[in-house]
């Protein structure tokens, strides 16, 4: 009798162990799926939508730290999201995905998440991710002089699909015309050398995957200005220099002088109008962290938390 009772409880114990073990296995796989990361993106996206409806709320967006490496080493960043690549094409794919993720999170140019400003139209930037290009990437085929061509990255964007009906380039920039974009770079007033290139990414350095939005002015101010003083002169005075020309960044580059001008002219080509809203956007792009080019963006505020 005692044996039988013991047998039963053993059976139950085994059952319990199986139950707990299977729960732990499921929990482990749930953690491995990176649901936390996905939910952070979703949280940011939701806060962007919420802010467009209720401007008093705050954005809940955080910067991701990514290290692209060939050999798995990553000295510059502490516990980043490490992504191992074997070829340049894989690197471009990761960058394209990061840029698309950033564009999606901040409303794809369809959402005004900064509200209206009273006197000046300001530029608000979002650093979606900070990417370190590990030294080991210099051993990748096609990398010369420790540099990765951004022209080839944009070439990747026009040739590869983001979804069934559009390429990355169409999704991010609304066009697949790389020649047209380069023409805009050449024709930009800051590009004194008239070189049609998106520039290069230097291996061993950190880059911001950054996008931007320009706020609109409140109607009351515009009407007030119009009635009071005569619209044209004052509106031009209140609007950042170069805005009329359509390039987001021209102001900053003018302020910084010629040095950043050549690089910054790239940004002019990445400026797109909002869809269904008046704001203008800068599509996600890679800019070296805290470089003159980044300073030339002249961001009034960085909306993402570090």
């Amino acid at each position: 009798m005692k044996n039988q009772r013991a047998e039963l409880s053993t059976q139950q114990i085994v059952l319990m162990i199986i139950l707990i073990a299977s729960f732990l296995v499921i929990f482990f796989f749930l953690l491995r799926l990176g649901i936390g990361e996905k939910s952070e993106e979703q949280l940011c996206y939701n806060s962007v939508l919420q802010k467009s409806l209720f401007p008093k709320t705050s954005l809940q967006c955080y910067r991701n730290y990514i290290c692209i490496t060939k050999d798995g080493s990553c000295e510059e960043l502490i516990k980043p999201e490490k992504i191992k690549v074997k070829s340049l094409n894989e690197t471009y794919k990761i960058l394209a995905e990061e840029m698309a993720k950033c564009w999606w999170t901040f409303g794809e140019g369809k959402v005004d998440y900064v509200g209206k400003d009273y006197f000046f139209k300001d530029k608000y930037c979002s650093i979606c991710s900070q990417i370190y290009f590990d030294d080991s990437l210099e051993n990748l085929e096609g990398v010369e002089d420790k540099k990765i061509s951004k022209d080839e990255l944009y070439d990747y964007l026009i040739k590869n699909d983001y979804s069934k009906d559009q390429t990355y380039s169409q999704y991010l920039l609304g066009t697949n015309d790389l020649g047209g974009l380069k023409k805009q770079i050449i024709e930009n007033e800051n590009n004194a050398e008239k070189i049609g290139t998106f520039g290069e990414i230097e291996i061993g350095k950190q880059y911001f995957n950054v996008m931007g939005i320009i706020s609109e002015r409140t109607n009351a101010v515009e009407i007030g200005i119009g009635v009071g003083v005569g619209v044209a002169g004052v509106v031009v005075a209140l609007t950042p220099v170069g805005w009329v020309g359509g390039a987001i960044i021209v102001v900053g580059s003018a302020a910084l002088g010629g040095g950043a001008g050549i690089g910054v002219s790239e940004i002019a080509a990445l400026t797109t109008g909002g869809q269904g809203i008046d704001n203008e956007f800068m599509a996600p792009t890679l800019v070296e962290a805290e470089s003159d080019k980044f300073k030339a963006l002249n961001c009034y505020e960085i909306l993402t938390y570090t």
Partner: protein, 169 residues
């Protein structure tokens, strides 16, 4: 008769095991529930602290970053920091938190761990529980100023020879 007794005892055993199983499952569920609630509570506290730090360091009109940006050569400005029990630290050596992107920077972090000159641990701490802003021209000296929530801590920010230095008043 003996068979009947056996059956009853078996049933009792089954019931006992079933109850144990239920209890174990209940304990597991309660442990997870408590874990999530504790996480939620401390997550909220940390989030509030990070937002206050962000305001003090970067985003408010009178933030440390904006004051540094407005400093002219040879000028010195003082400011009072409150709201939070964290610490204002500088990073000018080799190891820096991720947000510093390899440049000199100022951070407001939860704990100070570098008394034993363990820079790596401090960097890690600021990476997890801190907010940082890059100040490329920050003077190469250690800043370690404890902030208090209820009392204003006065600091002085000055610019000499293009270098920014921060001291407690």
């Amino acid at each position: 008769m003996t068979n009947k007794i056996k059956k009853i005892k078996n049933k009792k055993g089954m019931l006992l095991a079933e109850e144990t199983l239920k209890t174990v499952i209940a304990v597991i569920v309660i442990v997870f529930l408590v874990y999530f609630l504790v996480n939620l509570y401390f997550g909220k506290l940390k989030n509030d602290a990070l937002k206050s730090s962000e305001r003090l360091l970067i985003s408010s009109d009178q933030s440390i970053k904006n004051i540094i940006g407005s400093l002219k050569e040879g000028e010195s400005k003082s400011m009072a920091l409150q709201e939070i029990n964290w610490n204002l630290l500088s990073f000018t050596e080799q190891e820096k938190p991720n947000a510093c992107a390899g440049k000199n920077c100022l951070c407001i972090c939860d704990e100070v761990l570098w008394e034993n000159s363990e820079n790596a641990r401090q960097t890690n701490e600021c990476n997890k529980n801190g907010v940082c802003t890059i100040v490329s021209n920050l003077k190469n000296e250690k800043v370690n100023i404890g902030l208090q929530k209820d009392f204003a801590t006065e600091i002085s920010i000055s610019k000499q020879n293009k270098e920014v230095s921060i001291t407690k008043k």
